[in-house]
Amino acid sequence: KRTAFLDAFARVSKAFAGSFAELARGEGRLRLENPDDPFAGGLIIEARPRGKKLARLEAMSGGEKSLTALAFIFALQEVNPAPFFVFDEVDQSLDGVNTDTLASAIKSRADSRQYLVISHHRVMLEKSRQTIGVTMRKGWGTVVTGVPMEETEPAQAAPEVGA
């Protein structure tokens, strides 16, 4: 069990160094509080964003924390790949530049996998291949638009899709 964990930790650490460099353009690393007995301690995330000093996650700004957490998520996804990923509003704390970097990181990974990303940020929407619009219509419920027209099946009792 400990061996399996240390093996996973080594792979996630390596992936994290890469994804953090990609998102924050700095150096990030994962560290075990208790390397000899991992289950007796926690997981420390330390990072040196571009041009700044090494800091633990807890001391960073809101946006830097989110970006670091996303690098960690990308590392987990690299070690445990799936054909389909979902991100629901992961860019809430990010400014325009960081949102754009994240969008590019998602786009490059989307060559080989599907990414479904919910976002309010135009910067994110513009980088995607398809945007699904969702609105609430009084007395009707959720209406979905923006789905490519050739996909709509007239036989469906769903006249509002693509309408």
């Binding site: 054909p83 990923f85 398809q130 959720t142």
Partner: protein
């Protein structure tokens, strides 16, 4: 394997049956607060049996049935397509449809899963998902607020995220 489409019928805020095709690559979803975006994610978790009702912001499964709808049941279908390995080890391209229904009845909630129209148990569905390389843990789904939770959880809780992966 890839996701081809998601159909929501009387599920949460989707009073009308709605089929949402999902293309390859990078797809975004946008719209006003409370319009139903996260409900689409709940539908994916629902149909694949990868979350509790609380994980879909519902007290009970029957809370997932559209309140304004006319039917006493909610139905979600996920269409998947990909290279499947058949019994002889040959890879063929096929489509598979996974469906889950929850029904409100006098005796309580009734729910079941179907694969290509045939009722199956959740364990069978998860075996199929594993064959397709699709996670059954929900680790590939980052819910609204998860990133912020990840930034505020302590070191031990964070390490436990890694425990689950190993």
């Amino acid at each position: 394997v890839r996701v081809e489409a998601l159909t929501l019928d009387n599920f949460k805020s989707f009073a009308k049956k709605t089929r949402i095709p999902i293309r390859d690559g990078f797809t975004t979803v946008s719209g006003p607060n409370g319009s139903g975006k996260s409900n689409i994610i709940d539908a994916i978790q629902f149909v694949l049996g990868i979350a509790t009702s609380k994980g879909m912001r519902a007290e009970r499964l029957t809370d997932l049935i559209c309140i304004e709808g006319t039917k006493p049941s909610a139905r979600v279908t996920l269409e998947l397509a990909g290279a499947f390995e058949d019994a002889d080890g040959r890879r063929t391209h096929k489509k598979v449809e996974v469906t889950r229904v929850v029904r409100r009845q006098k005796s309580g909630a009734q729910a079941h899963y179907e694969v290509d129209g045939t009722p199956v148990r959740l364990t069978d569905l998860h075996d199929l998902m594993r064959d397709l390389g699709f996670p059954t843990s929900g680790q590939n789904i980052v819910l609204q607020g998860d990133v912020i939770r990840l930034t505020s959880m302590g070191g031990v809780a964070r390490r436990q995220v890694l425990d689950e992966l190993a």
